[in-house]
């Protein structure tokens, strides 16, 4: 299918491998090497941006499982991230739990909350479910704002930098290694999940849930599993976010963030394993461009209104989201695949 000319598979193992040819292996290893040596030639500022990219990628991977593969639209992903972030802040902060355990428990707690709000998916879908997840977002953030004994409301909670045994991740570079390693693991897990029986069942539920039921798939169980997994990743992302940022408030997980995540997923490409990565990198870098360029534009053109710098980024982002849906609904991942195909076929494109 996506093999270069003249390459054949001689065993089942090579047929199912994700990376199949020597060239692909070389490219993959070189890519990983380049990524993991970023701290040596990028300044701190850009490492920080890349940390954010890593965290967002994990969240989007979760959203991709839920929305892209299983077709259950969730517009409350930032809320589920908040659950993970607060779990880490409380467990690691107040109870001094080791970071890895807190990370795992954050994922599980976010997953369980996700399960709770996924229960209505038994009877409804589409817009009704989207509204439920919006309600989930508002309820979770309301609790974070008002359960002041535990979350300290809008004051927020301080979180120490993560540490595993003697390793303490308190610099940008060490944070980078921690976050990117976990991101790579998550990407690997999600890619393999999508190829497994579970992933195929998700896709069947997405494409036609009634037909999937007739085929013998327990639709409700798989929907709930998708909610659990999707929110589990959100919890992991939230946990990493909490220890990376060092301080969390409910303001970090607003409804706008949830929309942003949906947008990133759409721009990257729904139901693909490369989509979340491309989308996140694209949007986060665009965000940096806007924050860097907006003051420049404001200074050089004195006539523009004073809200320009703050309003520009939601405006551009909303516009891009609409444009992608109208012009390129399959997202950047589709473009990437087209590029790969044309590269593979070159120079004989037939």
């Amino acid at each position: 299918m996506s093999l270069p000319c003249g390459i054949r598979n001689y065993s089942y193992a090579t047929d199912t491998a994700i990376i199949r040819t020597k060239t692909q292996w070389t490219l993959f290893i070189v890519f990983l090497l380049i990524v993991f040596t970023f701290p040596f030639y990028f300044p701190r500022f850009w490492l920080d941006v890349m940390n954010l990219i890593g965290i967002t990628t994990i969240a989007i991977i979760g959203l991709n499982i839920l929305v892209g593969y299983c077709g259950q639209l969730s517009i409350g992903h930032a809320g589920f991230m908040a659950v993970g972030a607060y779990t880490t802040a409380i467990l690691a902060g107040s109870y001094h739990m080791p970071f890895l355990l807190a990370l795992l428990l954050s994922g599980v707690s976010a997953g369980l909350i996700g399960l709770l709000f996924g229960i209505p998916s038994m009877r409804v879908k589409g817009f009704y479910l989207a509204i439920t997840t919006i309600a989930a977002q508002f309820i979770i953030i309301w609790v974070a704002n008002h359960w002041t004994d535990v979350t300290r409301g809008s004051m927020g909670l301080g979180v120490e930098a993560a540490s595993i045994g003697p390793l303490i991740f308190d610099t940008e570079a060490s944070q980078f290694f921690l976050i990117i390693s976990i991101t790579v693991l998550c990407v690997l897990f999600a890619t393999n999940l999508a190829r497994s029986r579970i992933g195929r069942a998700f896709i069947a539920v997405r494409d036609n849930d009634l037909a999937a039921k007739v085929m013998g798939i327990n639709v409700f169980a798989f929907k709930l599993l998708a909610f659990f997994l999707g929110c589990f990743f959100a919890g992991i992302a939230g946990s990493l976010f909490a220890q990376w940022r060092g301080h969390i408030t409910p303001e970090d997980f607003t409804f706008s963030q949830s929309i942003l995540y949906i947008g990133i997923l759409i721009i990257g490409g729904l139901g693909t394993s490369i989509g979340p990565i491309i989308g996140t990198v694209f949007i986060r870098l665009l965000e940096q461009c806007v924050t860097l360029l907006a003051p420049l534009v404001e200074r050089s053109l004195p006539g523009i209104p004073s809200g320009f710098a703050t309003g520009l980024s939601p405006m551009i982002f909303g516009l891009i989201m609409v444009l992608f849906l109208v012009l390129e609904p399959k997202g950047l991942a589709h473009r990437w695949n087209l590029f790969k195909a044309s590269y593979r076929m070159w120079p004989f494109s037939y």
Partner: protein, 294 residues
């Protein structure tokens, strides 16, 4: 007891405004099966536009109202023409996501054009309070409730008897069949968005003439979703019943629960209602349950 009467009356009046905004949602859903999640932002931008016309450009009130309606018509037409029409036939997910992106875009425009975050519209209605028994209610609320009731009756009659209204209902039922009957489906969708924007603008002006213009209007839009969900998505009468119900729950709940749970409970109640409705009666009080076939 006196308190209860006060909460009830305020709740009913506020609920009528929620119902009006929810009508804007039901209009679009009824004719094109598109869920408009940019409702709050539409309310926000039309309130700010009214502010710009009346306060910043010093137009008289009647001219300002006409300009607001014209703006709403233009907005509705532009949204349908440039975002929804290319997406006809796409999956639900794209249709929902496109309105989300649209909302984000509109919010950005509001921030760019009106960077002041709080403003007050000039007084549109007489302000003297009205006494009902022992309860007191500001006259603005009564006006707002009256206007939303009038709009509801107009829209219901339109959908029931006018040729275009019947065509709109038919379009919601089966798009292919209605195209085969040579009904201009593009015009129907366009018209439903225009109506929805006018309704949203009216709701926006009413609500912001009472409470001022803040970004909380977006949250008001989300609260109206609880009205839509409780009433049933494709039912006008559902909106008009559920709106006051939600207003009642919000105000009575806030009145009695604040001392138990703490401040801010008011903002939580509509969302809890959404979850409860989803769990127990997902198609709402008056909604039509659709049976799917493969």
């Amino acid at each position: 007891m006196e308190q209860l009467l006060q909460y009830t009356i305020t709740g009913l009046a506020v609920g009528m405004i929620y119902a009006l905004i929810a009508l804007g949602f039901a209009l679009i859903w009824k004719s094109s099966r598109v869920a408009n999640l940019a409702l709050g932002q539409l309310v926000l931008i039309s309130s700010w536009f009214t502010y710009g016309i009346l306060v910043q450009a010093h137009f008289p009130v009647w001219a300002g109202m006409i300009m607001t309606i014209l703006f709403a018509i233009f907005l509705g037409w532009a949204i349908e023409r440039f975002t929804l029409r290319p997406l006809i036939g796409q999956p639900t997910l794209s249709l929902i996501a496109v309105t989300l992106g649209l909302g984000y875009f509109l919010e950005g425009i509001v921030i760019v054009v009106w960077p002041i975050s709080v403003a007050k519209l000039p007084v549109l209605f007489p302000q003297d309070p009205i006494n009902i028994g022992s309860a007191v209610i500001s006259q603005e609320y009564v006006w707002a409730a009256g206007i939303s009731l009038a709009l509801f009756i107009l829209l219901s009659l339109f959908f029931k008897f006018h040729k275009m209204g019947i065509a709109m209902r038919a379009a919601a039922d089966d798009q292919l069949a209605i195209q085969a009957c040579a009904v201009p489906i593009n015009r129907i969708f366009s018209l439903s968005w225009i109506f929805a924007c006018i309704v949203a603008a009216t709701g926006g002006v009413l609500i912001s003439s009472i409470g001022g213009i803040t970004s909380a209007l977006i949250e008001t839009g989300f609260k109206s979703f609880s009205v839509v969900i409780l009433g049933g998505m494709d039912s006008f009468i559902g909106c008009m019943v559920a709106g006051p119900l939600i207003g009642l729950c919000e105000n009575i709940g806030a009145g009695y629960l604040t001392s138990i749970i703490g401040p801010g409970i008011k903002d939580l109640i509509p969302f809890v209602i959404i979850i409860l409705v989803m769990l127990f009666k997902p198609y709402g009080l008056f909604g039509e349950e659709r049976i799917e076939r493969i």
